[in-house]
């Protein structure tokens, strides 16, 4: 990494950051976007394919109605307009993981458009304007063997089309202004909100680490007082909340250094490196021409307004409202609550634990310390740990009634995670009860003294 960086504060003195976020959400429909193949993850390569998702000559797509419903529900949650009539479009480009050598997407007629959502950072709420939510399909998975793992110098490449044709939503913001120093947190907060939203809607697993949710971050800087947008960079595949914030901060500092030195930012695609910096990808000036045109194999989509209203009426509680409600109910400070939001899945597991009888403070403690550490160690999400919210509440109940102490509680959790059964069973099995019979205790003390006078 050889980029000159300006300090974050210096950037903010001279420039206003402008953000734009493109988030791809992989839907969790049972079948693919255009055919009946299952979407299940992790099965034998090329075991979930048919003539349609393999793009064999003569095959034709048919729209998955459930995916359309999911997209409309996402659009409604983002306060978007739902198009009365729209079409799919072909995005033409070549890559071996694209079976048809074009992607069916939407171009100038997205299904949902013109939305807005509030993102809270600390005590402040920032309005994020939504440009569009459109539908498209995922590509297959290509694995390059040999070389440095890129297609150019691989010995050979393996293709798995199980993912080809899995429904994807692309959610694109308009330019986000006036975030100032909070730009990195607004970006990350927005993505976290989307993640919680798609999970609350049960339309996607919403797991960034698995690629269910992928984010491209656009950043540009405007000199203070300027009225024209600066030249932006687009950082691709920023796949954790922290990385989203870090990528925004890094690009602000990198572009700030270029502009302060009188240079020009190159409009380009950049790659995010986990070590915390971006590197140049392909320049937009030589970017591909996708030759979009309306998909002739599909008929236009005209969602019945009555159906849309029905979907609107049955939306789950909005994640933003839910957060506000839970914070009030639980009585946490912004900071305490912010710690919960920063851990993927923590809000839901804590809420479930509270519902199972634990106090919010206890629930927060277990999930953010002991269990977060475990999840981190094993590289899984909190709700993927082999312990349920109910079991955590049971451990806390044992603790509250004095049957175990804090140290033993950790051992009980250990036992549950090891598959030894419910907390009560672990206690029994491991003989972990705090000895509360004073008679027995006296005998034990006497015995110990006698043995070692």
């Amino acid at each position: 990494m050889a980029d000159e960086l300006l300090s974050f504060d210096a950037v903010l003195e001279r420039f206003d950051p402008v953000l734009g976020l493109e988030v791809h959400v992989e839907l969790s429909t049972k079948s693919k976007m255009w055919c009946g193949c299952p979407t299940e993850f992790g099965n034998e390569p090329n075991s979930q394919v048919c003539p349609v998702c393999l793009g064999l000559p003569g095959s034709l797509p048919v729209v998955n109605a459930k995916a359309v419903e999911s997209a409309i529900r996402i659009g409604l949650s983002l306060n978007c307009q739902i198009a009365r009539w729209c079409r799919f479009a072909r995005k033409n480009y070549f890559y071996p993981d694209m079976p048809k050598d074009y992607q069916i997407s939407q171009y100038d007629e997205p299904l949902c458009f013109d939305g807005e959502i509030a993102v809270e950072v600390g005590e402040m709420a920032y309005q994020v304007p939504i440009e569009r939510v459109h539908m498209e399909e995922d590509a297959g998975k290509i694995t390059h063997i040999g070389g440095v793992g890129r297609i150019a110098n691989a010995d050979y490449s393996l293709l798995d089309y199980n993912r080809a044709g899995v429904p994807l939503m692309e959610i694109v913001t308009k330019t986000i202004h006036d975030t100032g120093a909070a730009a990195p947190e607004v970006a990350a907060g927005y993505v976290a909100l989307l993640r919680d939203m798609v999970r609350a809607l049960a339309v996607s697993q919403g797991r960034m680490e698995r690629g269910n949710l992928r984010c491209d971050v656009n950043v540009s800087l405007m000199p203070k007082g300027a009225s024209e947008l600066g030249i932006r960079s687009e950082t691709k595949n920023v796949n954790s909340l922290r990385a989203v914030a870090d990528a925004v901060r890094y690009e602000m500092r990198r572009q700030g250094a270029i502009l302060s030195a009188g240079g020009r930012v190159v409009q380009e695609t950049r790659h995010w490196n986990e070590a915390g910096y971006t590197t140049a990808g392909r320049s937009k000036e030589t970017a591909e021409d996708y030759r979009y045109f309306p998909e002739p194999d599909l008929v236009p989509l005209a969602a019945d307004p009555a159906w849309v209203e029905q979907l609107r009426a049955t939306l789950p509680e909005h994640p933003g409202k839910r957060r506000a409600r839970l914070r009030t109910e639980w009585g946490f400070t912004q900071r305490e609550f912010g710690d919960i939001l920063a851990v993927p899945g923590a809000l839901d597991t804590i809420a479930d634990t509270v519902l199972a009888g634990a106090t919010p403070i206890a629930a927060r403690k277990w999930w953010l310390t002991e269990l977060a550490r475990r999840a981190n160690e094993w590289g899984v999400a909190l709700d993927e740990l082999p312990i349920t919210a109910k079991q955590v509440a049971e451990v806390q109940a044992l603790l509250d009634t004095g049957q175990i102490n804090d140290k033993l509680a950790r051992q009980v959790i250990e036992g549950v995670l090891a598959g030894e059964g419910d907390p009560a069973a672990v206690v029994q099995h491991r003989g972990l009860t705090v000895v509360s019979d004073t008679g027995a205790l006296e005998v034990a003390v006497d015995g110990a003294i006698a043995a070692d006078p």
Binding site: P51, G58, F94, P96, Y102, R291, L298
Partner: protein, 503 residues
């Protein structure tokens, strides 16, 4: 009874009543193929064993008392654009040489379900791009009327096979005239149904918004019977219509045109039209007047732009539809020797696998869709497409069907236009508007041009979903003209070999 010149309807009846067996009929046609196809080259693949097995199965079902459709046991050939698991499907292109599809097209499924006997795949221009079958990667088909001449295209194989009595029926596909123009120049009947009436699932795409499969036959009734078998809603094709299929068989049986208002398209006459073509079309109109129709002349002013419109929209879709032939997953692969990059392998494969016409259209279409040119080319073409559809709508307020020559000239010589794309494209001048508007249209034989003794096709176009009108007019014309000629037009075709077809 000559099994080769008999109509499909007759053969179906004889098989159903067990006067002949499907095996006998199938064998007779396989023998005819063996005898004449060396000089016609209508077929790219023949499935003799499979066909005889299907025929025997159909015979057994009939013997067991099963009630099958009117075409059960009748042989049929299918254009090499339709996926059929039993035979390679190449779309006439070297890039798909030897590719055997792992699935059947919906049309093929319907044919099998109706008990028809699939005897083989017919030759066509590469990916259906051409008007002469000369762009086929496997050599051209020859016109049974004169083997030095083109059989039309792209479905020249299907039309020639029917005209040469190698099969009583065939399936074609029509994007800009590929069923009708070959039917016209071979003296057979070819129908392009309303867009969406026949499923496109499993038919290799040329231009998705224009492609439509349809029947090729020797009589109007045969075409109607086949139309009924292949038409109908298919959930696998989003553009498939859900409306009921019109009763084309009754229309073909009655051939009643009394009071029918026929509009002659003024734009499709004059310069560029062979005198013999114009003469026979005039005589066909006279015959329809005799049969009780009314005739008016109508103008469709935007039709003169149809060819230009077509040559923007079609290549645009082609450039996208043909992108998948990249040597990665199936078909031809060139240069995969471990030293070449993916892109080089794709380039070499396409360079070798695609012919000149395919490349020309891919380049044209890529250009028409490219940034900065889209509005001027593809965008304008879509607007013109709307205006052409409006011309039809206006004309259909005044008349029930429109008529014109199916093609401006009779069959030209092989090689005559292959190096002159524009001259080749002119072959589809009269047929393209129906594809752009998505309406049904057909070509029926209406005589031989006096100057060269070659068949002339009479085109009928009907409003969307009113395909039965095509058959009404076709059947009336057939009745009037065969009465005048004393036989079918095809009976006048020269003998191809010593194996005589008795009419």
């Amino acid at each position: 009874m000559n099994l080769l010149s008999a109509s499909a309807a007759e053969l179906g009846r004889l098989i159903a009543t067990r006067e002949v067996s499907s095996v006998e009929v199938t064998r007779a046609h396989l023998d005819q193929i063996a005898a004449v196809d060396t000089c016609i080259h209508a077929f790219l693949a023949i499935d003799a064993t499979g066909a005889l097995r299907q025929a025997a199965a159909t015979d057994a079902r009939i013997a067991a008392g099963e009630q099958l459709g009117p075409l059960a046991g009748v042989p049929i050939a299918i254009k090499d654009l339709l996926c059929y698991q039993a035979l390679p499907t190449t779309a006439g292109s070297r890039i798909l040489e030897g590719w055997v599809p792992p699935y059947n097209s919906t049309v093929v499924q319907r044919l099998i379900a109706a008990g028809l006997v699939l005897i083989g795949k017919t030759n066509c221009d590469e990916f259906a791009m051409g008007s002469s079958t000369e762009t086929s990667g496997y050599g051209p088909t020859h016109n049974p009327w004169d083997t030095a001449r083109i059989p039309g295209g792209s479905g020249g194989g299907s039309a020639a096979a029917v005209a040469a009595c190698e099969t009583p029926l065939a399936i074609g596909t029509d994007t800009g005239g590929s069923i009708r123009q070959p039917a016209a120049v071979t003296g057979s009947v070819g129908v392009k149904p309303t867009y969406g009436m026949v499923s496109r699932y499993g038919i290799i795409a040329m231009a998705s918004s224009l492609d439509q499969a349809g029947p090729v036959a020797r009589t109007t009734l045969d075409a109607a019977l086949l139309h009924t078998v292949i038409a109908g809603h298919d959930p696998m094709d989003s553009t498939s219509l859900t409306t009921p299929v019109p009763d084309v068989v009754t229309a073909a049986r009655l051939g009643d045109v009394r009071g029918l208002r026929i509009g002659l398209v003024r734009e499709f006459s004059g310069e560029g039209y062979a005198p013999g073509v114009e003469l026979r079309v005039q005589q066909a109109i006279a015959a329809l007047l005799t049969a009780g129709a009314e005739v008016v002349e109508v103008s469709c002013p935007h039709f003169i732009h149809a060819l230009a419109t077509y040559y923007l929209i079609m290549p645009a879709e082609v450039s996208s539809n043909l992108a998948r032939y990249d040597g990665m997953r199936y078909g031809l692969r060139i240069g995969d020797d471990g030293t070449n990059s993916t892109e080089t392998v794709t380039r070499l494969t396409r360079g070798k696998g695609f012919g000149t016409e395919a490349k020309r259209r891919i380049i044209l279409g890529t250009y028409a869709l490219s940034a900065g040119y889209y509005d001027a080319y593809y965008g304008s073409a879509q607007k013109m497409r709307t205006l052409i559809a409006r011309d039809f709508a206006t004309a259909f307020e005044r008349c029930d069907v429109l008529v014109s020559p199916a093609t401006p000239t009779t069959a030209f010589k092989l090689g005559e236009r292959i190096d002159d794309p524009l001259a080749m494209y002119m072959s589809d001048l009269c047929t393209i508007p129906a594809n752009l508007a998505g309406i049904g249209a057909a070509s029926f034989p209406c005589g031989l041009a006096p100057e060269d003794g070659l068949p002339v096709g009479f085109q009928v176009m009907a409003p969307a979903l009113r395909d039965e009108r095509l058959y009404q007019v076709g059947a009336a014309l057939e009745r009037e003209l065969t009465a005048k000629w004393g036989s079918q037009l095809l009976a006048q075709a020269p003998a191809l070999t010593d194996t005589k077809v008795v009419w």
